[in-house]
């Protein structure tokens, strides 16, 4: 279990780092220095692909939160219902019920 969570943590770290890296790349690629036309064309595409990667990484982060929530929910155990009643009383009640139900002689008010 702990291995699973360390992997999740490392994924979060990796994704955040990658997002920053990609953003940094975009800024770096936006410079128009003495570059050839071909380089410009490639870099323009790289900017868009980096933006798409950022979106994908963010979606992954959302998926991780979902995974964590699910793991938490499934780890919860419902509280057992504490319910105590006198067995004798219960027995008497059930027996009385049986009498009424089967014969109908005893008035229900007596319960």
């Amino acid at each position: 279990m702990s291995q699973k969570f360390t992997s999740i943590l490392s994924r979060v770290d990796n994704n955040v780092e990658l997002i920053l890296q990609k953003f940094h790349d975009i800024v770096e690629l936006s410079s128009v220095q003495e570059k050839s036309q071909e380089t410009h064309a490639i870099e323009a595409l790289q900017i868009e692909s980096n933006a798409a990667t950022i979106v994908r990484l963010t979606e992954e982060l959302l998926a991780i939160t979902r995974q964590l929530k699910e793991a938490w929910i499934l780890g919860q155990v419902p509280k057992p219902v504490e319910w105590q009643q006198d067995d004798k009383l219960l027995q008497a009640k059930v027996n009385r019920l049986l009498d009424i139900v089967s014969t109908g002689k005893i008035k229900p008010d007596e319960i």
């Binding site: 003495e34 036309q37 410009h40 323009a44 868009e48 979606e59 929910i73 089967s102 014969t103 109908g104």
Partner: protein
């Protein structure tokens, strides 16, 4: 091309082999006139500038310089004379040098012919005829004419301006892609924001479900892992096919939590609820005397909303469904006990009254008319539900029993569920009726004994008739609230008269619901004078009458 070299040489070889020491004068004289003229023009310029005087002067100068030159030569000759012998090259050396020169000329020729071929090939692209005429046969054979082309390329004249243009284009492209990237990020962010809101909705619903103490679990349904809620009675001992497992799903638009039954619904299932009616048999007529009131049960579901209520509702109706299913199943085995089962109706005939159990849709539920036995009908439906719970509990207890080893000798017969829902009502009802008739028999005997004095009889019965009901059960020790219901009824009637103690033991069986009567007569001294087992109340009456009359003689 290396092979070509030698071929080319052969063409020129005779020329080269001739004595190469052709002097200038001879050369000029051998030239045809037009070429000679051209040469003169090239050397001297136009004939306009050439005059006889000038030429004479030139010749004289030439001869003068020649004379001085020969003088110098003579001086040199004289100086060199002493070492002539050593310095004169040998013939071998001479031929060697000659060979070197020839080689150089050959390579020059080769180079030039290669260049010619190259240029011819280049020209052949534009003018094939002109080009092919000067091409070497070898080239013609191997390379297609016109296969080499050329074009004029202007060197970029203004690199700075060009760079500016490129950077302008690049700037435009980058601006465009930055804009697109920004738009993408923006739309994605708003989309993700919505998604997060939906997630929040979903999980808060989930927490709500968790807080209401539902069991949330994950299951593999159709090979996908789903988060499910177990709202049914599958874990509580129910053997019904529908275990009541709902898949918790997220609404695509609002993200709200909703749940869906995981069991494949064969047909459109309708929520139904079990209703109980009691009819009174009055000769041929059947009158409704009681109906259970289901309204308060449903009211709670109508008031509330939300997924928890939905789950509670699903649980409730699942239970109702199972209840009716189990009732029908049991009713089918109870035909011998005057129980008839139809598709959605079970009729239990209890001699003087009829209990009718039906399944109705919630829409049809209405408050019953004010009838005398409404409360009893209500109690009957409560009883039925309680019995189903008891059945579940019994199943659960059965599951907890560790399995028997297979090799044990005494293999117990498979445990069949002895709990039943309707049967106890009928058995106890009949038992009670039999008890009443036995009581009537005893009363009639006492009445006979006291010669129809009713008040006396009543007093005597009140004093001496002891009815001990439920004497077979172990309920005194058992803590199970259903101890009595799960055991067949048995009662003992004891009546003391002046000379006799009459004891009638009534034992009913669950299977047949008929009562067996065990009549015991004891005299004053306590010794048993009669012990007989009878099956019918009439037999009992006859026997008792006979015994009371003749007990002295027994």
């Amino acid at each position: 091309m290396a092979v070509d070299k030698d071929n080319e040489f052969l063409n020129f070889a005779p020329l080269l082999d001739q004595n190469s020491a052709l002097d200038d004068a001879n050369d000029d004289e051998q030239l045809p006139l037009p070429q000679l003229l051209a040469k003169i023009i090239a050397q001297r310029g136009s004939f306009l500038d050439i005059s006889e005087d000038k030429l004479r002067e030139e010749i004289e100068n030439e001869q003068l310089s020649k004379e001085t030159a020969t003088d110098q030569d003579d001086v040199e000759m004289e100086a060199e004379l002493p070492s002539t012998q050593e310095q004169l090259r040998s013939y071998e050396e001479f031929t060697k040098v000659k060979q070197e020169i020839i080689n150089s000329v050959h390579s020059a020729l080769n180079e030039s012919s290669l260049s010619l071929d190259f240029v011819s090939l280049l020209i052949s692209c534009v003018r094939p005829a002109a080009g092919s005429s000067s091409m070497s046969p070898h080239l013609k054979q191997h390379i297609k004419i016109g296969s080499l082309s050329s074009d004029k390329v202007d060197p970029p004249e203004d690199t700075e301006k060009l760079q500016l243009d490129i950077s302008k284009v690049g700037r435009g492209w980058k601006l465009e892609s930055l804009e697109r990237a920004a738009a993408n990020l923006k739309s994605s962010s708003s989309r993700l924001k919505d998604e997060v809101a939906k997630e929040k909705n979903f999980w808060s619903g989930m927490v709500e479900v968790l807080k209401s103490n539902e069991v949330i679990t994950s299951m593999n349904i159709k090979n996908t892992r789903e988060v499910c809620v177990k709202y049914g009675y599958g874990d509580a001992g129910s053997t019904y096919y529908d275990k009541g497992i709902g898949i918790l799903k997220k609404d695509a638009i609002t993200g709200n939590l909703f749940f869906e039954n995981s069991a494949p619904a064969k047909e459109e299932k309708r929520d139904k609820i079990v209703n109980v009616r009691i009819y009174e048999k009055n000769g041929e007529n059947i009158n409704l005397i009681g109906e259970s009131n289901l309204e308060p049960r449903l009211r709670t579901f109508k008031e509330k909303e939300g997924v928890i209520n939905e789950i509670a509702k699903a649980r409730y109706f699942l239970f109702e469904e199972e209840l009716f299913y189990q009732l029908l199943r049991e009713a089918a085995t109870l035909i011998s006990l005057q129980v008839s089962a139809e598709e959605d109706k079970i009729v239990i005939d209890l001699h003087d009254e009829v209990i009718e159990i039906t399944q109705i849709t919630p829409e049809k539920v209405h408050a019953p008319a004010d009838l005398p036995s409404n409360e009893r009908a209500d109690l009957i439906q409560i009883y039925l539900r309680l019995m189903l719970y008891a059945e579940h509990k019994h199943n659960l207890d059965q599951r907890k029993i560790p399995p028997l080893a297979l090799d044990t000798e005494s293999q117990s017969p498979p445990q069949t569920s002895f709990l039943s829902l309707i049967r106890p009502i009928i058995v106890y009802n009949r038992h009670e009726r039999t008890l009443d008739s036995v009581r009537d028999v005893l009363e009639s005997i006492i009445l006979n004994l006291f010669e129809n004095d009713r008040t006396k009889t009543k007093d005597h019965l009140a004093e001496h008739l002891k009815i001990n009901k439920h004497c077979s059960e172990s309920s005194a020790r058992s803590k199970d609230p259903f101890a009595r219901i799960s055991t067949p009824p048995a009662s003992v009637l004891e009546l003391a008269t002046d000379s006799l103690l009459v004891r009638v033991k009534l034992t009913s069986l669950f299977a047949s619901a008929y009562s067996v009567m065990n009549l015991t007569l004891e005299n004053r001294t306590g010794s048993t004078i009669l012990d007989v087992t009878l099956n019918d109340v009439r037999e009992l009456e006859d026997c008792l009458n006979w015994a009371v009359r003749n007990h002295d003689s027994i």
